[in-house]
C-alpha cells in the first residue's frame, strides 16, 4: 500500500540510528542467555540472597514467622500457614558511613504524597522519627503516580543523600532504584515492595501475603469451610491490590467447599464499593462472606446491605476509623488488620541501622495489630475523624495538629 511505504520512509530517520545502536549493543552482549533471571511477577522473592549463603537464616526466619503467628493469634486462626519466603541478614558494613555533608545525616524520602490520609500520616510519621533521631529529610512527593516517582528518585539520588527511603508507587521505579543503589546510596523500600528488590538493602513493609491470607483464612473459619465468597480488591494493576488478592485466592483454592463467585475492583472508593455490593446483594443472595482489602470499601459494602435490609455477611479489610464508627453497635462481623502508615518510622530506623553498619534483615516484616468485631471498643476512636488509620502510633497531640483527631 502506498500509505504504508510512505510511513516507513518517514520514520526511517528515527529507527535507523536506534537499530544501528542496538545492533552494536547486541554484538557486545552477544548472548542467547537470559540476564538476571530472578525478576518476574508475583512471588515476592527478591533475588539478592538466593545465590549466596543466607546469613543468620534461622533467627531471621523466626522473625518472619512471628508476624504470622501473632496475626493468627489475634484473629484466632487455626491454620494460617506462612507463605514461603527466605529472610536473611544483610551485612551492612559496606553501607556504613559518616554523614556526607556536615554533622547530620541527610535521608531522602521518596513519598507517596498527601493524596489521602494514609500518605499524610506516612510522611508525618517519617518526619517525626527523623526529628527524634536528628537527621535531615530530603523529601519528594509522587502524588501517587509511579511515573512521577521515577523522576523523584532520580532527583533525590542526584542530591547525594546518605540514604534513600522509597515508598514504591509501582514497579516502574525499579530501574531508577537500581541506579540509585549503583551510585552507592543505600536504598530502603518502605511500605511496599518491588518484584526485583535485589539492589536494595532492605524492604520494610507489612506483608501483602500475610494480610490477604489472614483475611481469607478468617473467612474460611467463619463459614466453616463451606460457602460462597466474593473477592473485592482495590485497583487493577496496583501491587497492593493484586498481591493481596492473589494470596487470598490461593487460600480459597485450598478449600474445596469455598466457591469464589466473583472478583471485582472497588478502587478503594466507598462509592464504587457500594455500587459493586448493591449488585452482589441482588446477584448473589446466598453470598456467605466478602473478602475485601480495604476498610473504605467495606463502608460501601455495609451500607449497601443495610439499605437492602439484608444481614451484612462477614467482611475483612484494613482498619479505618470511619468503618469502625459506622459498625459500632451493629452485629456486623469483621476481621481487620492494618497496613500502618507509621511503618515509615521503622523504614527510617532500618536505613539508620544500615548507615551505622549494624546488621539488618533484607526483609523487615512489620507486625501490626489485627482484630475482629469482638474487640471493636478497644480500637474505635469516636473523637477522631473518619480518615484515621487505627491504632495510630502517633501521639494524640500530633494527630490533632494534622486534623485527624
Amino acid at each position: 500500500m502506498r500509505i504504508h511505504s510512505s510511513t516507513s520512509r518517514r520514520s526511517r530517520p528515527l529507527r535507523l540510528p536506534l537499530a544501528i545502536g542496538l545492533t552494536a549493543v547486541l554484538v557486545t552482549a552477544c548472548g542467547t542467555e537470559q540476564e538476571g533471571a530472578t525478576a518476574g511477577g508475583g512471588g515476592g522473592g527478591g533475588g539478592g540472597a538466593s545465590g549466596e549463603e543466607c546469613a543468620n537464616a534461622e533467627e531471621a526466619q523466626a522473625s518472619y514467622e512471628q508476624a504470622w503467628t501473632e496475626t493468627a493469634q489475634q484473629l484466632g486462626l487455626e491454620n494460617l500457614e506462612p507463605t514461603e519466603e527466605q529472610v536473611c541478614e544483610v551485612d551492612t558494613a559496606p553501607w556504613a558511613a559518616e554523614p556526607k555533608n556536615g554533622e547530620t545525616y541527610r535521608i531522602a524520602f521518596a513519598a507517596q504524597g498527601p493524596t489521602n490520609s494514609w500518605g499524610l500520616t506516612n510522611e508525618e510519621a517519617f518526619r517525626q522519627r527523623a526529628e527524634e533521631v536528628g537527621v535531615e529529610v530530603l523529601y519528594a512527593s509522587a502524588n501517587g503516580d509511579a511515573t512521577a516517582q521515577v523522576d523523584n528518585i532520580q532527583q533525590l539520588a542526584s542530591q547525594d543523600p546518605d540514604a534513600l527511603v522509597v515508598v514504591p508507587m509501582g514497579d516502574g521505579i525499579t530501574g531508577q532504584v537500581q541506579a540509585a543503589a549503583g551510585q552507592g546510596i543505600p536504598v530502603v523500600l518502605c511500605a511496599g515492595r518491588l518484584s526485583d528488590s535485589s539492589s536494595v538493602v532492605s524492604t520494610v513493609t507489612r506483608q501483602y501475603e500475610l494480610l490477604g491470607s489472614a483475611y481469607a483464612e478468617w473467612l474460611v473459619q467463619q463459614l466453616g469451610g463451606e460457602g460462597q465468597v466474593a473477592v473485592l480488591s482495590g485497583l487493577a494493576g496496583v501491587p497492593t491490590a493484586e498481591y493481596q488478592k492473589a494470596a487470598a485466592l490461593e487460600v480459597f483454592a485450598e478449600h474445596p467447599g469455598i466457591e469464589v463467585v466473583t472478583e471485582q475492583y472497588t478502587e478503594w472508593s466507598p462509592t464504587v464499593a457500594k455500587q459493586v455490593a448493591a449488585n452482589l446483594v441482588t446477584q448473589y443472595p446466598d453470598l456467605d462472606g466478602i473478602w475485601s482489602d480495604s476498610g473504605y470499601g467495606d463502608l460501601g459494602v455495609v451500607q449497601a446491605y443495610q439499605e437492602a435490609g439484608r444481614p451484612v455477611p462477614p467482611v475483612t479489610g484494613d482498619a479505618i476509623n470511619a468503618f469502625l464508627k459506622a459498625v459500632q453497635g451493629t452485629d456486623v462481623r469483621f476481621a481487620l488488620s492494618s497496613f500502618p502508615p507509621e511503618q515509615s518510622m521503622q523504614c527510617l530506623d532500618t536505613a539508620m541501622a544500615a548507615l551505622a553498619g549494624e546488621p539488618v534483615l533484607d526483609k523487615v516484616y512489620i507486625n501490626s495489630p489485627s482484630f475482629t468485631h469482638e474487640q471493636i471498643d478497644e480500637y474505635v476512636r469516636p473523637e477522631c475523624t473518619d480518615n484515621l488509620f487505627v491504632p495510630s502510633a502517633l501521639p494524640d497531640e500530633q494527630l490533632r495538629e494534622l486534623g485527624l483527631c
Binding site: P114, G119, L120, P270, T282, L299, Q303, D386, N387
Partner: protein, 345 residues
C-alpha cells in the same frame, strides 16, 4: 472552543427554524442508533446474565442513570457550544469536601455549606468559561487546567485528609426513593426536562444551537455568544455540584478518589447518545438514551464479573460502535463533513 467552523460548514441559526414535520423525523432518526444499541445490549444482557431482569438490578440501573445523567446533561450543554468539560470530576470532589469541612456533620450548617459548594462550582465553571471566551483557550486545555488546579486546592486545603462529616440530612438525596424510583433519577429527569425545554422550545435554546453551529455568524447577527458559552460552562459546574451532593448523600463520606478521576462517564454518555463534539448538533433526548445505554452497560459488565481488562475493552468497543453507526448515515450527515472539524478541541 469559541469560534465555530469556517462558513462552509455553517448550519446557521436558520436551522432551528426548520419545518416541524422534518424536525420530528430528524429527531426520530437521531435517536435510532443509540436506541438500537440499547436494544441489542439489553438482549445480550438477557442471554449472558440470566439474573439481569430483576427488580434489584433495575433499581441499580435507575440509580446509576441518575448519577451519570446529571453530569451528562451539563456535559451536553458544553458540547453543544463546541466545548468539553474535563473538570466535572474535580468539582464533584470539591463539593463533597466543602460540605464536610463546613458543616462538620451538623445539619443546621448544611444550607450554608451547600451555598458555598454552589458558589465554588459556579466559580470553577465561570473560570472555565472566561478562559474559553476571553482568552480563547481550547476548552479541553482550560478545563484540564482547572481540573488540576481544583485538585491542588483540595490537597493544599485539607492536606489530603479532609476532616468533618457529611450531614445525614443529605442522605435522602442519594439513597432516597420517591414513588419507588431513586431520588437521583428524579433529579436527572427534572434537569433533563428543564434542559430539553430550554434547548428545544425557547429563544435561548435556539441561540445556543446557533452559537455551537457557527459562533462568528451568530455573533454578527447580534447574539451575545460569549455569554451563552460561558453560561454553559457555569451550568455544567452547577450540575457537577448537584452530582457532588448526590454522591455525598449516597455514601455519606468524602470519597478521596472522586476528585482524582476525570469522570469520563459524562463524555462517554453524551457521545454514545450522538451529541456531536463539533457543537450545534444533538438533543437532550439523545443524552438520556446515551446515559441509559451506559448505565445498562456498566451494570451488565458488573453482573458478568468481567475483569478490569474486559470492562475497558467493552467500553471502548461500545463507544466506537455507537459513533460508527451514527457516522454511517443514520444521523443523516455526510461523514466527510463530520470528519472535517470534529474533535479539534
Amino acid at each position: 472552543m469559541t469560534t465555530g467552523a469556517p462558513p462552509t460548514e455553517a448550519a446557521g441559526p436558520a436551522r432551528a427554524g426548520a419545518s416541524a414535520g422534518r424536525d420530528v423525523v430528524r429527531r426520530a432518526l437521531s435517536l435510532l442508533a443509540p436506541l438500537a444499541g440499547l436494544a441489542v445490549l439489553l438482549l445480550v444482557a438477557a442471554v449472558t446474565t440470566p439474573g439481569f431482569y430483576s427488580a434489584g438490578v433495575l433499581q441499580l440501573v435507575l440509580f446509576q442513570i441518575g448519577l451519570i445523567g446529571v453530569t451528562a446533561v451539563g456535559q451536553t450543554l458544553v458540547l453543544l457550544v463546541g466545548g468539553i468539560d474535563l473538570s466535572i470530576g474535580a468539582v464533584i470532589g470539591l463539593t463533597t469536601v466543602v460540605i464536610a469541612e463546613h458543616s462538620r456533620g451538623d445539619g443546621e450548617r448544611l444550607g450554608v455549606a451547600i451555598l458555598l459548594a454552589t458558589a465554588a462550582g459556579a466559580g470553577v465553571g465561570l473560570l472555565n468559561g472566561l478562559l474559553v471566551v476571553r482568552r480563547q483557550v481550547p476548552a479541553f486545555v482550560a478545563t484540564f487546567a482547572t481540573f488540576v488546579l481544583v485538585q491542588g486546592v483540595i490537597t493544599a486545603w485539607t492536606r489530603g485528609a479532609p476532616s468533618g462529616n457529611i450531614p445525614g440530612e443529605l442522605s435522602p438525596l442519594g439513597i432516597g426513593r420517591w414513588l419507588g424510583i431513586p431520588v437521583p433519577l428524579w433529579a436527572f429527569l427534572v434537569v433533563a426536562v428543564v434542559a430539553g425545554v430550554v434547548l428545544g422550545r425557547t429563544g435561548l435554546g435556539r441561540r445556543l444551537y446557533a452559537t455551537g453551529a457557527n459562533e462568528r455568524a451568530t455573533a454578527l447577527s447580534g447574539v451575545r455568544t460569549r455569554w451563552i458559552i460561558a453560561g454553559c460552562f457555569v451550568a455544567s459546574g452547577l450540575l457537577a455540584v448537584l452530582a457532588g451532593l448526590i454522591n455525598a448523600g449516597y455514601i455519606g463520606y468524602v470519597d478521596a478518589r472522586l476528585s482524582r478521576s476525570l469522570d469520563p462517564n459524562s463524555v462517554a454518555a453524551a457521545v454514545i447518545g450522538g451529541i456531536a463534539l463539533t457543537g450545534g448538533r444533538g438533543r437532550i433526548g439523545q443524552t438520556v438514551v446515551g446515559v441509559t445505554l451506559l448505565a445498562v452497560l456498566l451494570a451488565w459488565l458488573r453482573q458478568l464479573g468481567a475483569g478490569a481488562g474486559a470492562q475497558l475493552v467493552v467500553s471502548g468497543a461500545v463507544i466506537l460502535l455507537a459513533v460508527w453507526l451514527q457516522g454511517s448515515g443514520w444521523a443523516a450527515r455526510s461523514p466527510r463533513r463530520i470528519k472535517q472539524r470534529d474533535g479539534v478541541r
